[in-house]
Symmetry: C2
Subunit: 251 residues, 2 copies
């Protein structure tokens, strides 16, 4: 099965073979593959070599290992497809915020934990919000959960000068969320800008979001404008549980 003269490392040959068996359906999604020691016999290589192959496939997200149970083909992702296309005023007034709007569309039970703090603006925040570095900002640090499972981390920063005395500085921002409170105080929202990227999670993020290894996070930075920039929201999403949907007019 393994060609030692090909120049291709043995562990890669094993990984390629297992990958092919996953794609062909011989190893079905959710089903276990043979144990490491069985694969050692099958391929005639040592256990570290088999483990290198499995590590590669785990990094690709194709396999999931469970201590004491076995190694499994990653099941198809739960397509939660939380539509994030709507930051419309209608949606805001109907719900309590953007995430709760996603929730009612996605058919899951949402919950959030919020921590409020105040801090001086760092350079990036000051730049995005048009403040001087060091000006005080209100920070809303949130963990969003869907049916109990954390799916998103979000850190909002707003100039304290426009949140003072409003429910935005409270854990519960009230009906319509922080954006509704902004509009009530004369900051009529004009548009949003979202910058999307992806990277591997830090160990802390992986722990909070309970990410299996090989699953990246999507990073979204949303800047809300009401004439001026009024909010920077840095969101970190589990890429295997969240899809972003954008609606773009043609002209």
């Amino acid at each position: 099965m393994i060609d030692k003269t090909s120049g291709v490392p043995a562990y890669r040959q094993v990984a390629t073979d297992i990958r092919a068996k996953i794609e062909s359906g011989e190893y079905a999604p959710g089903a276990p593959i043979p144990s490491e020691r069985t694969l050692v016999d099958q391929y005639g290589v040592s256990r570290p070599t088999i483990r290198d192959a499995i590590a590669l496939l785990r990094q690709e997200g194709a396999l999931i290992a469970e201590h004491g149970r076995g190694v499994f083909v990653r099941p198809r992702a739960t397509v939660q497809r939380l539509s994030r296309s709507r930051l419309s005023r209608d949606a805001r007034t109907a719900n309590r915020g953007a995430f709760l709007g996603d929730a009612s569309a996605g058919g899951f039970t949402p919950s959030t934990t919020v921590k409020i703090r105040f801090e001086p603006a760092d350079e990036r925040t000051a730049d995005l919000l048009g403040l001087d570095a060091g000006e005080e900002v209100t920070v809303r640090d949130r963990v969003m959960r869907a049916d109990g499972l954390a799916v998103m981390l979000a850190v909002s920063r707003l100039p304290r000068s426009i949140t003072r005395g409003t429910a935005i500085e409270e854990v519960n921002t009230g009906p319509g969320g922080a954006y509704a409170r902004l509009e009530e105080n004369g900051h009529t929202l004009t548009h949003f800008e979202e910058i999307v990227s992806a990277r591997m999670p830090t160990p802390e993020e992986a722990s909070i979001l309970q990410l299996s290894s090989g699953v990246p996070v999507v990073r979204v930075t949303r800047v809300a404008y009401a004439g001026r920039a009024v909010e920077v929201n840095d969101m970190t999403l589990a890429s295997d549980r969240y899809e972003l949907i954008y609606h773009i007019p043609a002209d």
Copy 2:
């Protein structure tokens, strides 16, 4: 340095220590960390253990290994920030297509390779384009490069019934790109929908995009509508070289 009684695996303790030294600046971005064999002496563990620690940090994207040279702290990503906010008719008429529009905004030299083929629609394509499975579609398979470096793979599928006889079936679609040709033929574009996710690359994608390990890809599926769905474009982007920017009106 390593506490063998703590219950925390040695390779994780080493990884945590190296990560701290990166964050503190003791190991600077772009600079090499000590060689594996030096770290073996420093931490008093075996080489495979050191390699496990380095593998973990490579997977997190914190380190880059270069055979024969050393292991380096990943330098800050080149923020190319190719704005992809514009699918407007104005931008189309001014350039040759969406990617070339990004290019003129980003200040780099673009190049593409295109392969055209025709095939029956698979189930997903048929579903998205509102076709019967098996109907013929035109497939435009492209590799986009910025200053010679591949940054995006894109596979567009359009019903052959609306591309027949147009430059969309040619390698060079002419001024304004495929979207301009569609509009010339009576398919006035109304809106686009983009579904964004992320995952780890397949080995083939990693090879074409020259991704270092630990760098995920962003997946964007764009559906273009002209009354009906007229195009499905599956794009794969190198997340360390591309940021997506979306502009969202407030109401």
